[in-house]
Symmetry: C2
């Protein structure tokens, strides 16, 4: 039975921008598992509620429902052990948690401040209202104010990527010679930005940009084909 | 033949504070390999030069000389494959590079600004002169000025540890249920500070502090027994 996945969408149902959903889509592609994605909007809480979930990604595999991108990655690794490994062994599994935490705490925290008002522009009207209200409460200011000085924030953001850059000087992927789920985790953030904003986050000569291009090429250009910018 | 290792020392030859040497000492202990450490001072360049090296750690294993903590970890993993793994498989090997880079770029960069003047105080006189001159050139100010506002820097430093804290909420070590070399990498930074400075970097109720205490307990309290503070 084909796997199904609820995937956050914009006003255009083909615009799929959630960084966490991208982690899962890349993980499924690494495992070689086809998936049928179902467009889902922030305000469709009852759709997920019926599955006992409250946020995407949600993966439905036969009678199993799994939510949370990390839990889904662990589920896929355990359920499909004969497919290519997402973690590359127990050490890679444990250390991917650090990449996950760094991505949430550093990469996403930096990214969102440069694209958050652009996100509101690509949402369906009912979602845009919800998004603006909830995020403006979080930031304590209008989304446009959060994003206003993004040119000035760019240098600090790029500096925060330095650990990533140092690794990518010595190997093509975080996972080594080939990508692992750790690459999908970090890539999800950049793909989130790419799907919602024309703002250029990376300098053309940055090793991180070269890696992002390699990630866009994976799995037949899966991520490159997504509705977005650049 | 017993392994030998050149290990940075202070005025007291028993004070061994280099974070990179601690990475190697913890790695050797994880592998269960006894080592004879040789006190080395910054100004003894000719001692290492005779081995074709210019900085510690330097590991001498029979007729093999290996320098650089990362290269030594890879050497030990390859040369002693029947001993406990430092990386936990190929994924853990690849992702440990990110931990290594994060530690150098974020943890050490934050740490050094809070303890650098204290380092000068524990060095032998000839080393203290070299250290002050080279580090003051790097920071562009007296060491005491770098460190002067450390109380004010503490909150930002602790905030920078958030990815570490997030992981340690879900598992006792970065390596999972048991420590891997990734733990040694990060611990090296905290042990560096502990060996040179009485300054308290971590709050008592921080999960990172609980992990540091677990690391101090490993291998019969190897790191706890070191000459230092707290």
């Amino acid at each position: 039975m084909t796997l199904r996945m609820y995937d956050l969408a914009g006003a255009d149902p083909a615009r799929r921008f959630s960084p966490y959903c991208w982690r899962t889509k890349m993980a499924l592609a690494m495992k070689g598992l086809p998936v049928e994605t179902i467009a889902w909007r922030f305000t469709e809480k009852q759709v997920l509620g019926a599955l006992g979930c409250d946020k995407v990604p949600v993966l439905v595999d036969g009678d199993r429902v799994v939510t949370d991108s990390w839990a889904i990655a662990e589920y896929l690794e355990e359920t499909y052990p004969d497919r290519p490994s997402l973690f590359g062994g127990p050490g890679g599994h444990a250390l991917a948690r650090f990449i996950n935490a760094w991505t949430d705490a550093v990469l996403h925290a930096g990214l969102v401040r440069m694209v958050v008002a652009d996100i509101a522009k690509v949402l369906a009207p009912e979602d845009a209202g919800y998004f603006r209200q909830s995020r403006e409460a979080r930031f304590g200011m209008p989304l446009e104010a959060v994003q206003a000085d993004r040119e000035a924030k760019l240098e600090g953001f790029r500096q925060s990527l330095h650990p990533l850059r140092m690794v990518l000087r010595t190997q093509p992927f975080l996972g080594g010679a080939a990508p692992l789920y750790a690459d999908a985790i970090v890539f999800g953030g950049f793909q989130w930005a790419r799907c919602v904003s024309p703002f250029r986050l990376l300098a053309a000569d940055d090793q991180v940009e070269a890696w992002r291009q390699r990630m866009l090429d994976l799995h037949g250009g899966l991520a490159r084909a997504a509705i977005g910018f650049d």
